[in-house]
Symmetry: C2
Subunit: 417 residues, 2 copies
């Protein structure tokens, strides 16, 4: 993943031929009832000028939001083709008796307005589980959303999928294939119930690169494993996790249909966007004050590196210590030690790094002396890197998380009201 | 586990022939440096009048405290026999280059004073990982501990193993085998880094019942699975987890050497003590204001019931909701859904109960209407029961946990200092 990409603006509208819109329809409380709400939109739509090859991954939770069930069925019917995506926040439309009916209704509303088959619409919802989704505000909103679609309205969409997020998450890159300029960009939604497992929280990615549905799905599976699936805010795997990746081919490169150089470039671009969105999600984790990035090197396999790195970013004790800026490295080693993977604990080295410096805290599985003063300085940064070397092989992986704070407890002690 | 037992006082001294003592030796900070410390002891000893058949289970963490390594080796050498246990708090003697040497030294000090072989001594430590254990205070303390041993000093020992615990944990029962009165009691230490896996945090249990080492180990393995291993405070499996169960036979029943009625009674008594200690550990979890007990019934197997019950008590989001007294049952169903076990999510029922009432929140995997007022009343209690029926079989299990609070973050943001 060494390629250099040009970082560009535009989120889901960075790729040619994708229009978006977002609005407030009344699923979130109105501003006068919730004056602290910084983002007002609660529903969005985006549409490609041309039918897209579409790949998705979904939550592994047995409880699946109705939108997941409907999107899956639609893409099966359409043979992995989609043209439009509708998504709402504040209500997950999950564990509701009429959930599938309502999710289908959302697709039909969009299909009717756009004059396309309903199975070419992807639907997603995020928010509270188990509250009936009000369909009337959505019925009123869809014509407006269609009417307001525009190539530059990625921001309206990116803010509409926010729940407890404090910032919107968008990232996009430009790259070249066959001498053609391609674009790939996306938007993501945090910021709690995040512990993706073979899928992730709501993530929408678009590209104008021409690539077959099969290769698109392969690339997505491969990259999701080392990006979103290496992210944990709180250990809770959401019921509505989904990544949707759409490719409309408007860049007019030769369609990528097999492995090879161009597929490699595409995957690198996808990694660049997904890794950066993952990082943004971690940094804006509920209540978070610090990003934690754990980089495990020297593993025998990538799976071992992933398991160890995730174990560290999932440790509540370590997360609380980072909030307190306490270099309690014993908790890192403890979390390394209970990771379900094979390696020799007596060869493990641990460093802690930030823009304020670096300290070595553990060598060959045992503590080494360090200056508490230097440690405090390193930990005063808002981006903390835990560097672990298993000294056992060549594979590596990164996992992303955040500190555990009073505000996490506050936000989640009273989320529904 | 339907037997009735007489609950008695005495903790580890409830069984005949067990003397204990505890003192302050200087591993914890002195009271004038830490005026909020409610328990002053930091080291304890207990000794049986007669050599004991001894069973232990240990942490599955790859990082193992030096005391775990030394105890394991001692019991192998002695053929599962022990007569004395020494334990300290505040320092885990883990990840130290000289850890095993110091743990052995602790055993030798006790062995010399008692004139017994060193391999008949069990050693345990709990506290901060990766700080060198000061041996001098322990060298001074051991003669004093031996000198002060008494049959009624369980309290001195139970307070010496406390770290962030706010209350000591002791439980004991009396029962009858072959017309002989038997006693079984124990003490346990919480209250963070608790997510036992095939073992648990420090737990010491003694009995005067006569039972072979093999049957003692079998009983311990079986009961630990459905008690301590169904407990989670924060998802972090400690490096120093240990349960030590000693039987000195002074009740003079016919030694239990195989399965059968008397073994069944013994196991029931062990369950009674270990389940109640588990409950105490959960209730005194770091920063906890509420006990959460999740009872899963109607499972095809006990393992499925355990997996689902543990998944619920481990959910940070649900734990925070309980702290906020918010009946956010969607988070329960979410945690049920990501449990790694086979069952039909569409048959799941969920009730929430306390001494203030009971509400049904979910039927057949979908939400049902309930009164928010009644829900608030139920959740105002400090012991919350989540009753889940998978409607899929006859097996059941209980898991114990606690709410996630500001104080958990506070305690763990700055634990070392």
């Amino acid at each position: 993943m060494e390629n250099e990409f040009k970082i560009i603006d535009g989120g889901i509208c960075a790729a040619k031929g994708f229009k978006a819109s977002g609005t407030y329809c009344g699923i979130k409380k109105p501003a006068y009832e919730n004056p602290t709400r910084t983002h007002k939109n609660d529903i969005c739509l985006y549409v490609s000028d041309r039918l897209c090859n579409t790949a998705c991954v979904y939550t592994t939770n047995k409880v699946k939001g109705a939108p997941i069930i409907v999107t899956k069925a639609n893409l099966e019917k359409s043979g992995g083709k989609a043209i439009a995506v509708i998504a709402n926040s504040k209500n997950a439309n999950t564990c509701n008796a009429d959930g599938v009916e309502k999710a289908n209704k959302m697709c039909e509303l969009v299909a009717n307005e756009l004059n396309i088959p309903s199975e070419q619409v992807v639907v997603a919802s995020t928010g509270v589980i188990g509250q009936v989704l009000p369909i009337e505000p959505i019925m009123s909103a869809v014509p407006k959303l269609v009417n307001e679609l525009d190539y530059g309205k990625n921001n309206d969409a990116a803010t509409a999928i926010m729940t407890t997020d404090t910032v919107k998450k968008e990232y996009a890159v430009e790259f070249e294939i066959d001498g053609k300029k391609c674009h790939l960009g996306g938007m993501a939604k945090g910021s709690g119930m995040i512990h993706p497992n073979m899928a992730t929280t709501l993530n929408f990615i678009t590209t104008d690169c021409a690539i077959s549905t099969d290769m698109l799905q392969n690339a997505l599976n491969e990259i999701v494993k080392i990006t979103y699936n290496c992210l944990s805010i709180d250990g809770d795997t959401s019921t509505n996790d989904m990544v949707c990746l759409m490719a409309n081919g408007l860049a007019e490169n030769d369609e990528i249909t097999c492995e090879g150089e161009t597929y490699g470039i595409f995957k690198s671009a996808l990694y660049e966007v997904m890794a950066n969105l993952t990082r943004m999600l971690a940094k804006d984790g509920e209540g978070a004050t610090k990003l934690i990035e754990c980089i495990v090197a020297g593993a025998q396999t990538q799976d071992i590196a992933i398991t160890v790195a995730k174990s560290v970013v999932c440790s509540s004790l370590f997360k609380a210590a980072i909030f307190g800026e306490d270099a309690n490295w014993g908790r890192i080693l403890c979390a390394v030690g209970y990771a379900d993977a094979e390696f020799d604990i007596n060869k493990v080295d641990v460093d802690i790094k930030s823009d304020m410096g670096i300290i070595s805290v553990c060598k060959n599985g045992a503590g080494i002396e360090f200056s508490e003063e230097e440690a405090s300085q390193v930990l005063s940064s808002d981006e903390i890197y835990v560097l672990i070397n298993l000294n056992d092989g060549e594979a590596s992986a990164t996992a992303w998380g955040c500190d555990l704070t009073y505000d996490y407890v506050k936000i989640n002690g009273d989320y529904r009201t």
